[in-house]
């Protein structure tokens, strides 16, 4: 059986038409299942966990990056596949990276059931699928306890497992969530054009474990969850099965 987890915002009036179209399409495709609507203050953790314990076939997140990030943190290590129906134009970068189209078109991806097993990154006790990032201002990085990094210019620190579609990664860097590796990418503004894209200088370093220190800022995981520093980041042993689209970013 499929279980659809509806985030709170998709029940708003402005998405009523979209959701009706999605439900009709799912019925046409024979993908009906149980619908769980998450309330504003409801604990999504216990709801999803109880469904996982019932031996269901698939969990489908209906929402945006915030929805997916929460559900990934509950499903990390589970063999039950996760499907995604992204609703709304904003905050749907994770679905785009996985090659999943918006709204009704995502139902076709669910139907195709193209499943990939992807590694997750871990930042403190949280998991992330795509990347964790923080502004470089006031940030220092300690890597594998062997060396530390200071960043002089303004920019951004990213630890990437799966890049977003609009990320400008240097061509020589192969970023994939299937390779059990995370890439540390430091983008700073200014400097020479060579070795970098038009606007940034890129620094790229492989690592096993790193710690980010910053007294004022938090690490942003999956464009959705905020985690306090110091943040210890490493590749997790836990994986997740995800239904992906053809036009994915790996």
């Amino acid at each position: 059986m499929h279980v659809y987890i509806y985030d709170y915002y998709v029940t708003q009036k402005k998405y009523a038409r979209t959701m009706a179209d999605v439900e009709t399409r799912l019925t046409d495709l024979g993908l009906n299942g149980k619908i769980i609507r998450i309330g504003v203050n409801q604990n999504i953790f216990s709801l999803v966990e109880s469904e996982l314990n019932r031996g269901i076939k698939t969990i489908i997140a209906v929402g945006n990056d915030f929805t997916i990030h929460k559900i990934i943190n509950i499903m990390a290590g589970s063999k039950v596949p996760l499907g995604i129906i992204p609703i709304g134009k904003d905050n749907n970068k994770i679905a785009q990276s996985l090659g999943i189209e918006m709204d009704v078109l995502a139902c076709n991806t669910i139907s195709s059931r193209r499943i990939e097993i992807l590694y997750l990154g871990q930042v403190n006790k949280n998991y992330f699928l795509t990347k964790s990032s923080i502004d470089s201002s006031g940030s220092t990085i300690e890597i594998d306890k062997d060396y530390s990094i200071e960043i002089k210019d303004r920019g951004e620190i990213e630890i990437i497992n799966l890049a977003f579609k609009d990320d400008k990664i240097p061509e020589n860097i192969n970023v994939s969530p299937c390779d059990e590796k995370l890439e540390l990418v430091i983008k700073t503004i200014g400097g020479k054009k060579f070795l970098s894209s038009k606007e940034y200088n890129h620094s790229i370093m492989p690592f096993k474990k790193l710690i980010i220190y910053n007294d004022n800022l938090k690490v942003l995981a999956d464009n959705a969850g905020e985690i306090e520093c110091p943040a210890e980041i490493t590749i997790s042993k836990k994986k997740i099965n995800i239904i992906v689209g053809k036009d994915r970013n790996f």
Binding site: Y147, S148, K152, I186
Partner: protein, 125 residues
């Protein structure tokens, strides 16, 4: 500016230390490396190393082959070929198999060549 070999090293680089970044400590890498920023400590790679003209390294360096265009305060141990470009400044000893020093490079230290291929090309214009 870069020859074909150097372009290939840059394209296949596993590690890039950019202009605004300073690394402090013992840095070890398996693949090719490009340094444009600062390194303080030790720098080891099993691959090739390119040091850009704005780079400042205060470290002992070990690499398979290397092209240096910036400043290095430390000893270099290069298994194969070392090229010092016209903007290179080396304050330290060099242990290398073969070396090319372009006119304008500064070398303050001893140079030990391994037995076998001993080729020193000085004042190349």
């Amino acid at each position: 500016m870069f020859n074909k070999q150097q372009n290939e090293t840059m394209r296949e680089a596993e590690t890039i230390i950019g202009l605004s970044v300073k690394v402090k400590g013992d840095f070890t890498c398996q693949g090719n490396m490009v340094v444009e920023g600062e390194v303080d400590g030790t720098l080891k790679t099993h691959g090739d190393l390119i040091v850009g003209d704005k780079a400042k390294i205060s470290a002992n360096i070990e690499a398979k082959n290397a092209t240096i265009s910036g400043e290095v305060n430390g000893n270099l141990k290069i298994k194969g070929y070392l090229e010092l470009s016209s903007t290179a400044k080396i304050n330290g000893d060099i242990d290398v198999q073969s070396i090319s020093i372009i006119k304008g490079a500064i070398l303050n230290g001893q140079c030990q060549m391994k037995q076998g291929e001993e080729k020193i090309i000085k004042n190349k214009e």
